[in-house]
Assembly symmetry: C2
Homo-oligomer: 228 residues x 2
Amino acid sequence: MDEISSLERRPDGSTGPIRRTALHDTLVNHLRDMIIEGDLEPGTRLHEGQLGEQLGVSRTPLREAIKYLASEGLVELVPSRGGVVKRFSPKDVHDMLTVLRTLEELAGRLACELASDAEIAEARALHDEMIVRYKAADRLKYYKLNQAIHTAIVRMAQNSSLIDIHAMLQTRLKRIRFIGHEGPEKWAASVGEHEEMISALEARDKARLSEVLGRHLFNAWDRVRDSI
Amino acid sequence: MDEISSLERRPDGSTGPIRRTALHDTLVNHLRDMIIEGDLEPGTRLHEGQLGEQLGVSRTPLREAIKYLASEGLVELVPSRGGVVKRFSPKDVHDMLTVLRTLEELAGRLACELASDAEIAEARALHDEMIVRYKAADRLKYYKLNQAIHTAIVRMAQNSSLIDIHAMLQTRLKRIRFIGHEGPEKWAASVGEHEEMISALEARDKARLSEVLGRHLFNAWDRVRDSI
DNA sequence: CTTTTGTATTCTGTATGCAGCATTTTTTGT
DNA sequence: ACAAAAAATGCTGCATACAGAATACAAAAG
């Protein structure tokens, strides 16, 4: 069963006045996940009737969600043909990574200035946990913690616009990263870069953190470029 | 009369099969303009019934447009209260400018590497035209050309993601800039920076162009910070 | 006079219906 | 048998209709 309605139910059994979480958000998140995880491949038309039936909602909220995702850049709107899952060329990915790199370098500098000691400790905790997952070869959890660390560093920069745009680019790239599973030696290199990142952050070494973050993304590109 | 339908009519009197431009795009652009130009002030609820009647469209496409703008960041979606024009705090603006600055610095470096001579010549032409408008004290045309030059430099970087995000930030900031009318001496300073920009671009001097672009935006912030 | 509660209105959220465009299949003419 | 035209199908785009939530207002109780 893939119906959205099940996701609407409140997790806790509380009895207060039921404030239904807006269907819109649920739909957007659901569709976004379907695109990222490859359930909807690039080039696929988002068939309103069929998709709506599958998810258990009518066409109207579905259309609104599709328009929303179009503005996010995951979906392309073709006149009188509706929404189509956007296809990213290797150059598109490279372009996104170039921008992401610049933004993370900025985030690194700001984070060194503005982060609280507590925040840095949290990042260290995430990192240590990630290392555990790495040694256990738990790819999925490693991947999630990896993302969480990058997001944490961006949050420490305390710049809402930066947070927004970074999240947007991460989302667009998620699908790509989902595919690009690197081999053991490249994985090790990635972990090494993360070690550097954390120690630079703890030392509040702007230049070094910024440099590592940039190098990290550049290497990430090298690691996945063949699989696109 | 403010009806959208009038905007749908084709400007030329051609007789071929009428391919109606999608109402969605028209509506999005119209609403965006209304927000930027202050017809819809920050905090205003986007009243679907009333607004739809005013524009001569039904609620359905209007809602879709509102959702789209929400994803763009100009509108906030409040559950069971619909769309509200987003209000930017001074810190929000500062945050956006910080990001924009980093992106323009990147664009400047890339442009020096990748731009064709023809493109640089075009930018110079825009600049010269802008100077003419400046001397004529034609604020509106000056402003438009100013924007066009920045956009042109970003385009020269030939990075689609950079172009997208830059455009998004420019849109969000447009409303602010619309207000921030600086005095004569500050205006002159801005023009001076533009002179530097163009000559750095013509010399393909990465470091200098990047530096000027950054300084330019930083100064722009100083020029408008009081009027927010 | 203030506060609270019940009711009415208004607006959002969702569903459905209809018209037009695109594409595919069928039919007709050579 | 092949090509071109015409019909049929399916989907999107927009409008309308209905249900539920929030707010505003009024009346009653303290």
